[in-house]
């Protein structure tokens, strides 16, 4: 029996500091067997949550990266044409013998079509991520990353998989999931996801974390960084986020910066330190300038 507290604890143990909303969402997703749709700005740990969960729960991670033009052949299953052709070539003599028994053409076709299922069986099925996670013996974690990059058609394709945990393959019939996977969908909100998909999911918005949580995240990942510096760093980044930058620094930038500062063995944040490492936190030329200006103002004393 799993509780919210337990979820939060084992995520913390895995190095992912979850707030209450995240822990509750994960708890509900596990208990209600419903997918979670996570939205939020890039770099706040949406994919990271899935990875941390898969490590903490010991569910194998099956990842499906979406892109424009992805279709069922890439996401669900595909037939292995090459293998099918190879087998028909190799089995030609057997097939000749098998058919030669029949009296006329009609009977030959009948005999052959009776064996058709041989070539459309699981032997020739290429399992793509979704099918793979459905057929996994162990309960798996299916990560459908950046769903907003795919087309509407693909979204519609997912509806059946996500609500009933089954896949219809015309040649084989309906394949149901052996163990219902824990499904996590992430989106950066570049496109509106349809209501039909939203309705089937729990909706979790991960924004920029509060001060304490962000400091804790930095401390967990980089214990050698002293507490004061971590706090100073996070406070500075929080101010930078209010600057209306083109790409505001998110948690992944915070962590990169912390990494850089530990390598440089910095002990205090000064305008010079910021100026030399500013490329880590801002990724646009106009942003660079704004951030250095902010450093001059805030850290001058």
């Amino acid at each position: 029996m799993i509780t919210q507290q337990a979820v939060s604890d084992f995520l913390n143990a895995g190095g992912y500091i979850a707030d209450e909303a995240i822990a509750t969402a994960v708890f509900l997703a596990i208990r209600m067997e419903k997918p979670i749709l996570i939205e939020g700005p890039p770099g706040v740990g949406k994919t990271g949550l899935a990875k941390a969960l898969s490590a903490a729960l010991d569910f194998p991670l099956v990842r499906l990266q979406c892109y424009e033009g992805i279709d069922e052949g890439k996401a669900l299953y595909d037939w292995e044409y090459g293998k099918q052709l190879l087998y028909t070539q190799l089995l030609r003599t057997q097939l000749d013998n098998y058919i030669s028994v029949s009296a006329d053409l009609r009977e030959a076709v009948d005999r052959l079509s009776a064996e058709e299922s041989l070539f459309f069986s699981k032997n020739f099925l290429v399992q793509r991520p979704i099918l793979r996670s459905f057929l996994s013996e162990k309960r798996s974690l299916l990560l459908i990353d950046e769903i907003d990059r795919s087309d509407d058609e693909f979204e519609a394709l997912l509806l059946e998989c996500l609500s009933d945990f089954q896949i219809s393959i015309p040649e084989l019939g309906v394949i149901e999931a052996k163990r219902k996977p824990l499904v996590i969908l992430t989106s950066n909100g570049t496109r509106m996801i349809s209501d039909a998909l939203r309705r089937r999911c729990l909706y979790l918005y991960i924004g920029y974390p509060e001060l304490e949580r962000e400091v804790a995240i930095v401390r967990v990942r980089f214990p050698e960084l002293c507490e004061d510096l971590a706090r100073q760093m996070v406070e500075f980044l929080r101010k930078a986020r209010e600057l209306n930058l083109r790409k505001p620094p998110s948690i992944s930038e915070t962590l990169d910066w912390a990494h850089v500062l530990t390598i440089l063995k910095a002990t205090e944040l000064t305008p010079e330190v910021v100026a030399s490492t500013v490329g880590v936190i801002s990724k646009h030329q106009t942003d660079l300038q704004k951030v250095t200006e902010l450093a001059e103002q805030e850290l001058a004393s």
Partner: protein, 471 residues
Amino acid sequence: MERIITRFVAALRESGIRISPGETLDAVQALALAKMEGRKASRLLLRLTLIKNVNDIPTFNEVFNCFFNRFQCVEPDADLPALMDAAINDMDGEFTYLNEHRDDDHEEPGPLIKLDSEISPEDLAELKSLAEIDPDDSDGTEIVMQMKGYRGKAKKPPRPTRRYTQNPLTIELNKSNSYGHRVTFTPEEQAAMQDVVSKMMLRLRKDMRRMKTNQNRGKLHVMKTIQKNYRHDMVPFQVILRRKRREKPRLVVLCDVSFSVSHASRFMLLLLHTLHNQLLDVRSFIYNRDLAEITEMLANMPVNDLMETIDHGDIVDLDENSSFGQVFLKFKKDYLENLRGRPAFIILGDARNNYDEANDWVLDEIREKARYMLWLTPEDRETWSRGDCLMDIYGSYCDKVEVVKTVDDLSLVVEDLLRDIYADQAHPIDRKLLREAKAAEAKSYDSSDYYRRGTNNDSEPVFDPEGRKHW
């Protein structure tokens, strides 16, 4: 408990959030699974299961606070500040948002307004007195009356086909008068425009994609075909063709920014600005008596700043009377020569020339350069030849004249235009099919004598609402 949840869901629906019965069931199930642990936890649960969109979260918080405040006073262990909050909420319903950020919403997305958490009752009273400055005190209503008279509407009963009581533009005009002189767009207006544009994009995208695949009828792409058919033992089941390069359609827009049509042209500018990067290559001009190009500014400045600059008269003088004749002359002199490609040409204005020279021969020259000419006017057909309005003269040079009154009208017109432009660039076979379809549609309505009708004899122009969509 189920009853409370369903009533809460009903309250949410009333505030405009769409919630399906399935989600309600989820919420009940979730509450049963997790033990109820106070207000914050149950709010989290409800939000996770009921709300499926970031934009709905602030509304949800508001409704949640309002809805569950009523039950707060019966809880024995409620602390005093919370009770006081509830009391304040009861007194001043409109101040709920002040209390909202005091509790636990730090992780809430969206713009957070930093507020001093210590708000004394005096402050509240002060705030309230601020709200009491009634917009009705200003002379807004008078201006509205004038506007309506100006539009030639006062004499006629409203026509059922145009619902101009719900007409957003008219409403906007009323609003802008009551706030003094407001020129910038509110976030809601920008969001509404985004909404209109995204709907339009969605409708367009499907057609575009179909046309695009048809346009691929170029030469055979040998490498890709081999790659694709490797699995079929090199039997070319699937043929990949080279895609032809295609340029973005060009558009030239002239917007009147004089007082009479300023609001419509602002929305036009915003619409084009939104579209500019995605589909079009737009050159935008604004004019009153003078003409100026604002393409660069639209691309580089925040829209609201630009609107303010325009409104201060920094770009073109707004105190002058608008003169279409002068504007056309200037356009011919300065810009006509360096128009690239064959752009589609849109003019937005009421064609009221203030009895200046018409100079309509310029339009004939522009016509030669343009692929297509479209005139958008906010005035109804029956006023086109009254007073100083030269719509009938100018209109005879255009491919099409559309009456546009709302943002929705505007988006429909632009969508039609885009379709036409894309259809023009389509493959010859497609183009032929499209043309035939259009001809078949237009056959039922003969538009050749349109601009002469009603002007030769003294009879009123005949207007049939059914025919409008064919023009």
